[in-house]
Symmetry: C2
Subunit: 134 residues, 2 copies
């Protein structure tokens, strides 16, 4: 077991098992804070490395918001191409929160508003998925 | 700073800063393994709590695959309804891997194949997003 795996199992120990569906399932522990906010961005200029860099730099500022418990910023991975895989987006933003209240603080936060103000001209489409541990 | 936040900052220390776009940005460290595999499922019977429980139980078995570094299984959160938010799905599966090779091991793993065999009759649509840290 490597250091990263140990760290994630340690993190799992801080999160309680949620919901009756978990009963009897040892793998039912979520390793992460309960609320995940996943946003996909499609750039107006998908081939512009400069626009992508601007967007990613803007996204990184969101990590400073106090209710954010974890972040992952990315681009499409070079995994196998399959019909079910959508790799058409330009950038991916994952933020973890403890709960919906934490996500609301982020949504209304000046840092988030500044990000939208500075970067929204770069994208033509955004899709948001909010999921809560189950 | 609470325990959860400390744990994630500790996790961040195990992941190297990736890419030139990070230069000079202290919030540029990804707290998680580099590759995120996010799958959304739409059930054939979206109102069936039994089918949802079966799907979630199947998803939890995936955490046992040896290249999986972290998991989050969820359902739509009760965050604010906005045009950009898609809350039409039934279940969300997030798996973190160190790299695309780790994701490929999962993709071809007997536990994953058994999950598809046992549960694919439950869903009518799946969308997969694979993102790599940037």
């Amino acid at each position: 077991m490597n250091t990263t795996r140990r760290t994630f199992l340690a993190a799992a120990a801080t999160v309680s098992v949620a919901g009756a569906a978990n009963a009897g399932a040892p793998a039912a522990v979520s390793n992460y804070p309960k609320l995940v906010h996943h946003v996909f961005f499609w750039l107006k200029n998908p081939n512009s490395k400069e626009d992508l860099a601007k967007l990613l730099a803007g996204l990184r500022t969101l990590a400073k918001i106090e209710t954010v418990r974890g972040v992952h910023f990315g681009v499409p991975a070079s995994t196998e191409k399959r019909d079910v895989v959508d790799n058409s987006y330009s950038a991916s933003e994952i933020l973890f929160f403890d709960d919906t209240a934490g996500q609301k603080v982020y949504q209304d936060h000046p840092i988030h508003k500044k990000f939208v103000e500075d970067c929204s001209h770069l994208w033509e489409r955004v899709v948001v998925y909010d999921a809560i541990s189950a």
